[in-house]
Symmetry: C2
């Protein structure tokens, strides 16, 4: 126990080379199993902790194959290819020998090169100008974050359908824990399902595949510390039981930290 | 041999359950190894041809781990989880026992549910109003496609840097081969690297991870047949040797077929 909820939840016990065990945390419960962003963070962390890992995360794709039950989870991380400046990993998360999630991730060494952000920062009020709210208190994992919604807060019981699926919020760890790649990964999945907003109602939904591209490096994250980041998501198409979501995370200083995408199952 | 370049290139010989062999095709050569979109199409096709596969593709992530040499490639497809309405697959592509690419893909059964496209179709001239051009003739794989650039054609020798990374083109198979999920996957990677446009020059670049979300189903694709689709891509951030790309494929009839994203290595 580290005394901090996020650190506790991503703590891995190494049982053999490339093999680790974690324990689900009641603080991070979702409707079914743990918060998906936390699962993604654990799978990224599993690679970060490998002694032969090179560089920092560039991309991560997590596939949520089956519900994770409360209790122990086993993680296996395998370097499938090591190149001079990048490394490809396969990660499996299982319980009692049954695969619950798979991930692939590419780590790499960054170097000086022409750099530019083409996406435009969103013009929104500062977090201090917005009241902290959050999700419904029954959504346990969300209590770990301070959320200040710029637009697209979760619909209440009398909500109408919205023509837009956009949600934008300032978000940080409730205890001001500093950002690292694991926390950034978790926050990349901080959005409630876009279909709620479009339909004005909560309905069954779950991410099936989540991809995160890291544009920030470790020193960028060190500068942010435990400050708010601006998270903004939208959907492109809702089609016969599945929709996609694309999102961006920005620092308060105007740096694009992450672009992240997911495919989500839903019922209406 | 089927007599058609794309069909030949994605032809798989089944050597054992879940094990297949393909052969690289000189018609699909890129600077180093084959066109990445073709590799992605082969890995998707490997799952499509499994007898226990259920449903149609929902998402696909391909990680390009190492250059593929000319010759035979071995593909292994494993169903890591089968649920009632979806199925998670892991695919590895290797040569002489060395992994060259990995993929994860989720297939699923679509069903009637509330559906809507929130993204707005691009207002562009019809393909018949645009001259067919393409990429440089030394880019062998590109000769398989008819390309009509709406904007952001590949920069010529006297090009200046562009403030925008946007490319939009109408594209179809040169021989009007009908779209299926494999061809749609290949076309999702039809864009030359965005950094060329921003820098006004060709430089070393290669996709490291490619994710494709399928919004169209098989009957939607049957309606398109061999017609043009509109493909539009942009980058969000170029950061120390890597940039992301997000793209959409639309049918001429205004249906959003695919949203697709990639992380790309580049040098300048």
């Amino acid at each position: 126990m580290t005394g901090h909820s996020f650190d506790d939840a991503v703590t891995l016990h190494h049982t053999a080379p490339g093999r680790m065990r974690a324990k689900t945390s009641p603080d991070w419960a979702n409707m079914v199993g743990p918060f998906g962003g936390l699962t993604a963070a654990i799978m990224l962390r599993a690679v970060e902790e490998q002694p032969d890992r090179i560089g920092e995360p560039l991309s991560l794709t997590v596939n949520f194959a089956a519900p994770i039950a409360d209790g122990d989870v086993d993680i296996a991380a395998t370097a499938v290819r090591t190149n001079r400046t990048n490394q490809h990993w396969l990660v499996e998360l299982s319980q009692d020998g049954v695969v619950k999630a798979t991930a692939t991730t590419v780590f790499g060494i960054r170097r000086d090169a022409w750099s530019e952000t083409e996406a435009l920062p969103w013009q929104v009020p500062a977090p201090e100008e917005i009241a902290p709210t959050g999700l419904h208190p029954t959504v346990v994992w969300a209590r770990n974050f301070e959320m200040r919604f710029v637009e697209g807060a979760i619909p209440g019981p009398d909500a109408e359908p919205s023509p837009s699926s956009v949600t934008a919020l300032w978000v940080r760890d409730r205890h001001l824990r500093a950002f690292d790649f694991a926390l950034l990964t978790a926050v990349s999945d901080v959005f409630y399902p876009r279909v709620y907003l479009r339909r004005g109602a909560v309905s069954p939904a779950g991410t099936i595949s989540l991809t995160t591209y890291f544009h920030a490096d470790g020193s960028d994250l060190a500068e942010i510390g435990g400050d708010f980041v601006l998270a903004r998501a939208h959907a492109n198409r809702f089609s016969r039981g599945y929709f996609d979501q694309s999102a961006q995370l920005w620092s308060r200083g105007g740096e694009l930290l992450v672009t992240t995408h997911q495919m989500v199952y839903f019922k209406t």
